[in-house]
């Protein structure tokens, strides 16, 4: 190990390794500071309590980020995180935006993440919107809807959810919700299973 690479060594670069940065004044663009602050929270990878650091004044920026489209050059992970954050601030403006995105979002990823966030609110007032995605074309959106229905059971009985499903869409929707509850549950394997290998040593 003694002669292993000098990990700090970097190649010689013609003209030196440093170039001058030119930073523009942002004094009249306060929204950019707000964006940086909110991004630092939304980009958190593995802290389930991270969104607790969001304050009321951050919510307009969270809403803005929840609307930014990857097709326009936004980071999808940030958008999905913003959508999840809206679900933890269950006031009318956030819930309305989540409902908009769940119904009319521009792709199944956006709709699926919005549906998951609605499920996490725990309120079966959103059951109609969530249930609409149980029949989605893409499996991610369908899976998200099933998980969202299951998430509602953390705050309400399965019977209550079934009753509301039947009130919205009759016995047919009741059956679909029942199926979703059953299929979203994970059943542990008796013994470890083997993933399939596609190719050896990329």
């Amino acid at each position: 190990m003694a002669k292993q690479p000098d990990a700090g060594r970097r190649p010689q670069v013609p003209g030196g390794r440093v170039r001058a940065s030119r930073i523009a004044d942002r004094g009249d663009l306060p929204a950019l500071d707000a964006r940086e602050r909110v991004l630092a929270i939304l980009r958190t990878h593995d802290d389930p309590d991270a969104f607790d650091r969001l304050v009321a004044g951050d919510l307009p920026m969270v809403q803005l980020l929840a609307l930014e489209s990857a097709a326009f050059g936004a980071e999808p992970a940030v958008r999905y995180s913003a959508i999840a954050a809206l679900g933890q601030r269950a006031a009318a403006p956030e819930l309305n935006l989540l409902t908009d995105l769940a119904r009319f979002g521009e792709d199944f990823y956006v709709r699926g993440h919005a549906v998951l966030a609605l499920g996490r609110t725990g309120s079966y007032a959103h059951l109609a919107v969530i249930a609409a995605s149980l029949d989605a074309e893409d499996s991610f959106e369908r899976g998200a809807a099933a998980k969202a229905v299951a998430a509602l059971t953390r705050h309400a009985s399965s019977d209550a959810i079934m009753a509301h499903a039947m009130a919205i869409g009759g016995t047919e929707l009741g059956r679909r919700v029942e199926t979703a509850l059953r299929e979203s549950a994970t059943t542990r394997a008796d013994s470890p299973r083997q993933t399939s290998a596609e190719q050896k040593r990329a």
């Binding site: 190990m1 170039r19 609307l67 990857a70």
Partner: protein, 515 residues
């Protein structure tokens, strides 16, 4: 004494101003205000009369999501309206393309980048920020946009005498902001051509990479293989013919000043012509069997300097050098969870993400091999979307194990919904050196999206960083607060640094071995 040998091949080159594998493609986004019905029809499809009606409805709508929903009840049309149009009251904006002005970027000369964008007149862009990643330290160039530039839909960012670049590749990450705080980002890479005007650059080749711009010698049985990418850059206005044969030499110590270990010749076979204002590329792999001088040096952990020399048909010579060395490595199983939910493009993006992740580690002279694996959708059950930490551990218990050797299991799931800011999870810090149990592996959310052409994509730059962050935990790294570090709790796609202390921690993990 056994001799080393060289194998080589020419490879197709990417366009000089779209040089990077992870570069963005130009976006098909337009501003509604600038479209007549015929153009709108072309943008979103459908009949002309319908497009006229759509345009009328969209122009009076407020928020784009609601506006699109009111304009069309057809989901596919609604989705395209949102993905491809900037609406009148839209706070979103989009960079459409970024290209060098007046031809390729030339070494040691000022240059301009043209940023073309689409934005609503009510919320014009106000600031453009360009981060430059090149062979040296990254730097930033920012510019405020005036009303004229905002109206023109494009702005040129000037790089002055103090910001010129040497020959090689430079990646520009361009972000455009408006006063509402909305942003759009575009990544593009330029090959910087020599002003002098012809030169050679050597780089690591594919699996044999190390990130400190060294070639990596890999032990295969009783031999070391060293791969080197050769790029000829031509800044001339005419093509330059080059002889296909080349001379190579390995030196212990500096080229010419140290001791010559081995040397030889090789040939790329056919005639070489480096096109005007463009590049030509090839690779050379050196095979050094046991007993050869190169083998003995690598086997005693010595670094070597490699020189390759080629000759232009007109007689002029061009040469370049690179360091070659062995390094530490580990293995990763990149496993797609719910395989059928990955399109061919998404699978390709996932491979690009794994390569991006590897490049991050190789910047700190640690590399990994990866096997691509998958779990079929009918087997996956509730693991498609992980919505509790218990479910994450169950996934590892069920699927990390038999037949997956001593690689770290990295599962890429369709989504993670455990509440709060979680898009990746590691079982424990450090992770175990055995499979089985609920801690043997990491997961990352796939970060899928639909681009402006309607194609399903993964954000390879971000996903590569995210997988790298979780692997860092598995190899023993805790969160840090150092700007730019991969292990920031909220690292972004450009936070890819690892320091020497982190390197020392990772190489002590039981699954990390000397290559």
């Amino acid at each position: 004494m056994v001799d080393s040998s060289a194998q080589c091949r020419a490879v197709p080159q990417r366009p000089i101003s779209r040089f990077g594998l992870l570069d963005d493609s130009p976006r098909q986004v337009a501003t509604l205000a600038g479209l007549d019905p015929a153009a709108l029809r072309k943008q979103v499809g459908g009949r002309l009369s319908a497009a006229t009606k759509l345009a009328d409805q969209l122009r009076v709508a407020a928020e784009p999501v609601i506006g699109s929903a009111l304009a069309s009840s057809v989901p596919a049309v609604r989705e395209r309206l949102l993905r491809t149009l900037i609406h009148p009251a839209d706070r979103r904006l989009a960079i459409l393309d970024v290209t060098p002005v007046n031809g390729p970027v030339m070494s040691d000369r000022p240059f301009d980048l043209r940023v073309v964008f689409a934005a609503a007149a009510l919320v014009p862009p106000r600031l453009v920020s360009v981060r430059v990643d090149w062979a040296g330290e990254s730097f930033v160039n920012e510019l405020r946009l005036d009303a004229a530039a905002a109206q023109a839909g494009q702005v040129d960012v000037h790089f002055d005498e103090e910001q010129t670049l040497p020959v090689g590749a430079a990646t520009f990450t361009v972000t455009l902001f408006n006063a509402a705080g909305s942003a759009s980002t575009f990544v593009t890479t330029s090959g910087v051509l020599p002003s002098n005007p012809f030169s050679m650059l050597l780089g690591p080749h594919q699996d044999f990479v190390t990130g400190s711009w060294s070639a990596r010698a890999v032990r295969h049985g009783d031999a070391y293989d060293t791969g080197i990418a050769v790029t000829l850059f031509n800044g001339n206005p005419t093509a330059v013919p080059v002889r296909s044969d080349f001379h190579w030499a390995f030196w212990d110590g500096g080229v010419g000043g140290g001791s010559l270990v081995e040397q030889g010749t090789g040939s790329f076979g056919g005639p070489i012509s480096v096109p005007a204002a463009a590049s030509w590329g090839g690779w050379v792999t050196f095979h050094s069997p046991s007993g050869s001088g190169i083998f003995n040096k690598f086997n005693s952990r010595e670094d070597l300097a490699v020189e390759i020399r080629m000759t232009r048909v007109d007689g002029g010579q061009v040469s370049a050098t690179i360091t070659a060395r062995t390094m530490f490595r580990f293995g990763v199983n990149i496993t797609r969870v719910a395989n059928e939910d990955f399109t061919a493009t998404e699978r390709s993006d996932l491979t690009a993400a794994a390569q991006r992740c590897r490049a991050i580690y190789e910047r700190r002279d640690l590399t990994f091999d990866f096997d691509t694996r998958w779990i079929a959708q009918h087997d996956v059950g509730g693991y498609e979307i992980i919505n509790s930490f218990g479910e994450f551990h169950d996934l590892l218990s069920d699927w990390s194990g038999p037949g997956s050797n001593n690689n770290i299991d990295a599962f890429v799931v369709q989504g993670i919904d455990v509440g709060g800011g979680v898009d990746g999870i590691d079982g424990s810090i450090p992770g175990p050196t055995s499979h089985g149990g609920g801690d043997s592996g990491v997961i990352a959310s796939k970060t899928g999206y639909i681009d402006s052409t309607g194609a399903r994509r993964l954000h390879a730059n971000y996903l590569g960083m995210l997988i790298g962050h979780e692997l860092g935990h598995y190899l023993g790294l805790e969160h840090v607060s150092t700007a730019g570090d991969l292990m920031l709790p909220n690292s972004g796609e450009n936070d890819i640094n690892l320091d020497y202390g982190q390197y020392r921690t990772m190489i002590r993990h039981g699954w990390v071995r000397i290559s």
